[in-house]
């Protein structure tokens, strides 16, 4: 009797290994244009990362004593996390407001968010001079609780966990673990509530990081309200990313998407454009208040002033109007255009606070080296690789297996 059981278990284990081995093999074309571009870049990036660890951060970056944070923090971490904000916004809409319309894109958004955090937090490790000490603030022998960075680091960790739980039913469905799926789905609501709370705090926390750099950031971008501005803009930054990523996935993974979800795609984009227009209006309003509060009229007529106006009118007001028009008139293409302009605007805004406006008056202004850019693309491509790998295997865009509905 027990022999028989063992036998079955062994066979099951064997098949799990076989199953995983089979799933590890590439699916799809090997010589797609994405592979042809990304593989050489990633190879070069890995070489550069090795050089960085052997010879120090200065060997491949243009950072210096005056500008200690550059592209890796300003773009990979600060901008990347803003784009990953879609996950908390959508889980809020679907699980907290119970608006079922967006349910079909929650999984892919959470997956995107989770991977973004994994890779952008990973980029943070590249930027640490002494990464082996990263455990210090985690295991509790040196808690710098007065540090905003301490808060942000912990939130990254906990939020990744929350997102993993939110996503885990998809993994369970993939490997066919029915019991586990049931338990994990039961944890979704708690993870969502926890995750949204964490997101509110660390999206704003990324802005709060720069509060002490009061004398170093251009006054048009520095204010005590950076945390609030970062938080509000993360809403439409995240949703624009959802629109953008959704449109690309719709093309690339078309055959993965169920009939029902293909049909609902336009309705979803339309709804999201409304939310974007609305939150961008609030954001613009806040920016105006912050500007009036700062009383920097004289600075507008400078080079940085023109740049500031470009950001506000070209990349906030314009896409806001486009979102609004496309929402009124159901113009799907226009929504996508507005989303792209918004995303560029977010990149510009985050870089203005963290890199361009930071020590804008330095004798030798910081410009990232080509190697920093290659490493940034390496991180980005690696994330897309994993994303694609998961999409091709787990029920993310496609429907859950039948047994889920039977239960």
């Amino acid at each position: 009797m027990s022999n028989h059981k063992n036998h079955i278990q062994q066979r099951e284990r064997g098949s799990v290994v076989k199953f995983l081995a089979a799933e590890l093999k590439p699916k799809g074309k090997i010589f797609s244009w994405f592979n042809i571009i990304s593989v050489p870049v990633m190879t070069l990036g890995v070489v550069l990362i090795v050089i960085r660890f052997v010879k120090g951060i200065g060997s491949i970056t243009n950072l210096d004593q005056e500008v200690p944070w550059g592209l890796w923090i300003g773009f990979d971490v600060v901008t990347g996390v803003a784009f990953a904000g879609g996950a908390y916004v959508l889980t809020f809409i679907v699980y907290i407001l119970n608006v079922q319309k967006y349910k079909s894109i929650v999984r892919v958004t959470v997956l995107n968010g989770f991977l973004a955090y994994v890779f952008y937090a990973g980029a943070l490790l590249l930027d640490l001079g002494r990464p082996w000490n990263v455990i210090n603030p985690i295991i509790g022998n040196s808690f710098g609780v007065s540090s905003v960075l301490f808060l942000v680091a912990w939130h990254f960790l906990l939020y990744m966990l929350a997102q993993l739980i939110e996503f885990s039913p998809a993994i369970a469905e993939w490997i066919g673990a029915r019991r586990a799926r049931k338990i994990l789905s039961g944890m979704t609501l708690a993870a969502v509530i926890f995750g949204i709370t964490l997101s509110t705090l660390h999206q704003s926390g990324l802005g709060a990081l720069f509060l002490m750099a009061k004398d170093k950031i251009h006054p048009l971008w520095y204010s005590g309200f950076i945390p609030i501005l970062f938080f509000v803009s993360s809403i439409f930054a995240g949703l624009s990313m959802v629109i953008f990523e959704g449109s690309i996935s719709h093309r690339v993974f078309y055959n993965k998407i169920s009939e029902k979800n293909r049909k609902s795609h336009h309705g979803i984009l339309h709804g999201l454009s409304g939310i974007c227009a609305f939150t961008m209006f609030i954001y613009f309003f806040l920016q105006v208040i912050v500007f009036l509060h700062g009383k920097h009229w004289d600075l507008l007529n400078t080079r940085m002033g023109y740049w500031y106006l470009t950001e506000i009118f070209g990349f906030v007001v314009l896409p806001m109007i486009l979102f609004f028009i496309s929402y009124r008139n159901h113009r799907i293409t226009l929504i996508k255009i507005a989303a792209i302009i918004t995303m560029i605007g977010i990149i510009i805004n985050r870089l203005n606070v963290t890199v361009i406006g930071y020590k804008w008056d330095a004798a030798v202004p910081y410009v990232p080296s080509w190697m920093e850019i290659v490493v940034t693309f390496t991180v980005l491509f690696a994330e897309i690789w994993i994303f694609r790998w998961v999409i091709n295997r787990m029920p993310v865009l496609s429907d859950s297996p039948d047994w889920v509905r039977e239960e």
Partner: protein, 290 residues
């Protein structure tokens, strides 16, 4: 300035060791456990001769490289501290003639760097030094971003990089010695002692020689007060100081945000759960898919 005078003073600086040790730590020791009672250094730029004795002594005390012989303070040339030197002296042409100024980490009373550090590697000790602890630091450089004086420097070209900055010779002071620069300043422009007493001393000098000093002690209120205190004959802007430094301590800039965190953690989940329950019944047609 003539190289001869410089070399002379340099030699003097090196022999000044013996001179310095006499006037040791003073009577303030017993009071250092009080919050506002800690060591500081009073630097009188009107006395400084620009000999670089402090630079040399500092480099030797901390195993760094002393300045090159041609690397001297000159008007119009801004030398800056970096990962190879914790302090530098610069020359400025001012409305009252040429003056020298030594710069280094200011040893803030409430340091931005220490409140920024998530590992407590940057740490304000009870006797007033702001020290860096190698075994804790993860090299994130957030201290550099936050310090209003750009004092911490990072070894960008090392696989095991350190943060370099003045720590008011924490180790030497612990042993009862004076900071290296204080001990080796032949002009006696640098005075170590209890911060409160140094402020009184600075005030006395200003009062006694009214024409000689600009009536401000830089560091008394800057960034909420710093351990290093400066006297000067001219407004500090003329000596390359940042005069926009706010008077409130820098950590206060993040206090509002950090204080709001616990309340968000308590309120947000409750509110979210409340909304969830309220909206659940309105749209429960899809419920079984949860």
């Amino acid at each position: 300035m003539g190289v001869d005078r410089r070399n002379f003073l340099r030699a003097l600086g090196l022999t000044g060791v013996a001179l310095g040790t006499g006037k040791k730590l003073g009577a303030a020791e017993s009071q250092t456990d009080k919050e506002d009672e800690f060591y500081g250094i009073l630097y009188d730029s009107t006395w400084c001769a620009g000999c670089q004795g402090c630079e040399i002594a500092c480099a030797e005390a901390h195993g760094l490289t002393p300045p090159e012989i041609e690397d001297v303070p000159e008007v119009g040339k801004k030398r800056v501290a970096d990962e190879t030197r914790r302090t530098v002296v610069n020359a400025y042409e001012t409305s009252q003639g040429e003056f020298f100024v030594k710069t280094q980490c200011m040893q803030c009373a409430q340091p931005a760097c220490a409140s920024a550090c998530l590992t407590k590697a940057m740490y304000k000790t009870r006797d007033g030094s702001v020290i860096w602890r190698e075994e804790k630091c993860m090299g994130c450089r957030y201290c550099m971003v936050s310090c209003p004086f750009d004092a911490p420097k990072f070894e960008y070209h090392s696989s095991n990089p350190k943060i370099e900055k003045c720590d008011m010779c924490f180790d030497r002071v612990k042993e009862g010695k004076l900071p290296a620069c204080v001990e080796n300043c032949p002009a006696e422009a640098i005075k170590f002692g209890n911060r409160r007493e140094l402020i009184a001393e600075a005030r006395k000098r200003i009062a006694e020689f009214p024409g000689m000093y600009h009536d401000v002690i830089y560091g008394e209120h800057e960034a909420g007060g710093t351990g290093w205190l400066y006297l000067s004959a001219v407004p500090f802007g003329e000596l390359g100081f940042n005069t926009n430094i706010q008077k409130k301590p820098y950590p206060e800039l993040t206090k509002g945000f950090l204080y709001s965190v616990p309340s968000v953690f308590v309120l947000a989940p409750a509110v979210l759960l409340g909304i969830h329950t309220a909206t659940k019944n309105n749209n429960n047609q899809d419920e079984e898919n949860e």
